[in-house]
């Protein structure tokens, strides 16, 4: 499980998805997407910051 979370390719793809969510949120004015994006980004950073 730990390996999945620290997987760099997965993290890279997840960040791109977060980017799409955040950009959709600010350009289409859908705040919920912004919440999901920001929380998602914080979770990715958290998983990358702890040694799994």
């Amino acid at each position: 499980m730990g390996k999945v979370f620290s997987d760099k390719k997965l993290a890279f793809v997840m960040i791109l998805i977060v980017f799409a969510l955040l950009y959709a949120s600010v350009s289409l004015q859908i705040p919920t997407l912004g919440y999901v994006g920001v929380i998602g980004y914080a979770v990715i950073a958290l998983l990358q910051s702890i040694k799994l």
Binding site: K8, K9, A11, F12, I15, V18, F19, L22, Y23, S25, V26, S27, P31, G34, Y35, G37, V38, Y41, A42, I44, A45, L46, Q48, S49, K51
Partner: protein, 511 residues
């Protein structure tokens, strides 16, 4: 108290990299987390504000990553098809002395490339060449990072130079003269730093024969180009004149045998240099053709934090020009090189597959780190942390501020990895402080730009590019260990000169 909170993300980054020796990806992840928490709880930035700031950060990271991915692709292309071997063997034919190879390539050749392309391209091109010539990877990375840093501000066809003029609203030529003056200090300091990296004080002594006259010629040429108002060419012409001067000095002193035969394998030197020639030609050609309408850009709304810090809307943020961004130029050069190698018969599908695989493997870690670091910079800027930090230091230092001023330029580049962004963040601020102290704003603006220029050697993006180009990914702490001291010493030297000019001699230029 808010100053302490504003310092937290940067302190986290520095402690993780320099004290705990964490890999950059882990340090970056922790720093963005700290920045988001500080912005949310102490700077009144809600989730909407964080969406905009992180979104901007990620869009800027995409801009930089396109350069890194394409440059790493080009590097593996020239490596797999044997071009780099041909280039290296010919460098050895022309420059027999390893010390001259080290100094000329990292201090001047990288600066010539910076004059044309910039955006980390010199680091990705020159570091592998030095390593293949047999120099220690860590020393090679540090030498190129430091060696070309003097040329960043006038480089990239003048993009940082344009920025300092735009954000301050001062006369561009007058800022240019002040920048050339401070650049002399930066040239000398970075040349000496490269020589010291090579062989300590004996190497510095030997290097002075080359560094002093070369710097004098470069400053004269750059002053002339500023006088002629050829803004985009100041860096390129300065570095080119320096390159030619140092090579002539080498021939004068060492009197090497005349080169009669060049080394070639299946590829000639011209074939090997083809991608780099294409990069130079396209970099010069595209600005003339004015094809700026073909671009991709992001739009972000304005935002005000709960504490009243206003961030203006962006209509075309992180503009990626199809005919101007380095990535398409580099990719076209790589494709043309492969086409040529195909004509010669050295191209195989297996080699192309190896190039693609190596590029992906090398780039992935760097990409994640960049996402974290650039979004941290944007969260800090848009929440008002950066301006809080700057205001506190200015208030604390008072009349001795000119001494501390270069450290802001360095800080801006350290946070964002870009001289242009450093000028955006601190350019107007430095000029405002100069005006409030009743000292010359042109000198302060020039100092900001050159301090930002040398600070690029500490920029996380540049360091990551250098690490991935040299196989030192994960060992970024070691690179910081080599470049931090020389950059800080150069900033101190710039500060002393600035203090003397502004507070002691009360020099006035421009206006």
């Amino acid at each position: 108290m808010s100053t302490l909170y504003a310092l937290l993300p940067l302190t986290t980054l520095l402690v993780c990299l320099l004290v705990l020796k964490y890999p950059a990806v882990r340090a970056g992840a922790l720093s963005i987390l700290v920045a988001m928490v500080c912005a949310f709880f102490f700077f009144g930035m809600d989730v909407y504000g964080l969406s905009i700031a992180v979104g901007k950060g990620l869009s800027l990271a995409v801009y930089v990553l396109l350069i890194i991915w394409s440059a790493i692709f080009l590097y593996h292309t020239v490596f797999e098809f044997g071009a780099i071997d041909v280039i290296n063997k010919n460098i050895v034919i022309f420059l027999k002395d390893p010390f001259i190879q080290f100094l000329l390539l990292s201090w001047l050749f990288a600066s010539v490339l910076q004059g044309i392309a910039g955006f980390g391209v010199p680091v990705i091109i020159v570091v592998p060449i030095l390593i293949h010539l047999g120099f220690d990877p860590l020393k090679s990375v540090a030498a190129v990072l430091l060696g070309h840093s003097w040329s960043v501000s006038f480089g990239s066809m003048g993009s940082s130079f344009f920025t300092i003029f735009l954000v301050t609203g001062l006369d561009q030529q007058s800022i240019g003269y002040a920048m050339v003056l401070f650049d002399l200090v930066a040239m000398l300091a970075t040349g000496v730093a490269v020589a010291f990296l090579y062989g300590g004080f004996p190497a510095v002594k030997k290097a002075l024969y080359y560094i002093l006259p070369t710097a004098a010629v470069m400053v004269a040429v750059m002053t002339l180009v500023v006088y002629l108002n050829l803004v985009s060419l100041v860096g390129l012409m300065g570095a080119l004149s320096g390159f030619v001067t140092m090579y002539l000095l080498y021939r004068l002193k060492e009197k090497p045998e005349k080169v009669t035969t060049l080394y070639k394998s299946e590829l000639t030197l011209l074939d090997a240099l083809l991608p780099y020639i294409v990069i130079i030609v396209l970099s010069l050609l595209f600005p003339i053709l004015s094809l700026d309408q073909y671009h991709l850009a992001f739009k972000f709304p304005e935002y005000t934090t709960a504490l009243g810090y206003f961030v203006k809307a962006e209509e075309a943020y992180s503009k990626i020009k199809l005919f101007g961004h380095p990535a398409p130029i580099i990719l076209v050069s790589a494709v043309l090189a492969m086409f040529r190698y195909g004509c010669i018969g050295v191209f195989t599908k297996q080699k192309l597959k190896a190039v693609a695989q190596k590029t992906a493997t090398k780039s992935i870690n760097t990409s994640i780190t960049l996402f974290f670091l650039i979004s941290m910079a944007l969260v800090m800027m848009d929440s008002g942390m950066t301006s809080t930090l700057a205001g506190s230091v200015a208030a604390f230092t008072g009349n001795v501020y000119p001494l501390a001023a270069p450290f802001f330029g360095v800080l801006g580049s350290f946070i964002t990895g870009s001289n242009t962004n450093s000028n955006v963040i601190f350019g107007k601020f430095q000029v405002s402080v100069a005006e409030s102290l009743a000292v010359n704003p042109y000198i302060m603006a020039g100092l900001q730009s050159i301090a930002g220029s040398i600070g690029v050697a500490l920029g996380p993006t540049t360091i990551l590019m250098a690490a991935s180009a040299s196989g030192l990914t994960g060992k970024e702490a070691g690179i910081y260990g080599k470049v931090l001291k020389p950059v800080l010493l150069t900033a101190l030297a710039l500060g002393i000169i600035n203090f003397l000019l502004l507070s002691v001699l009360k020099v006035n230029i421009g206006g």
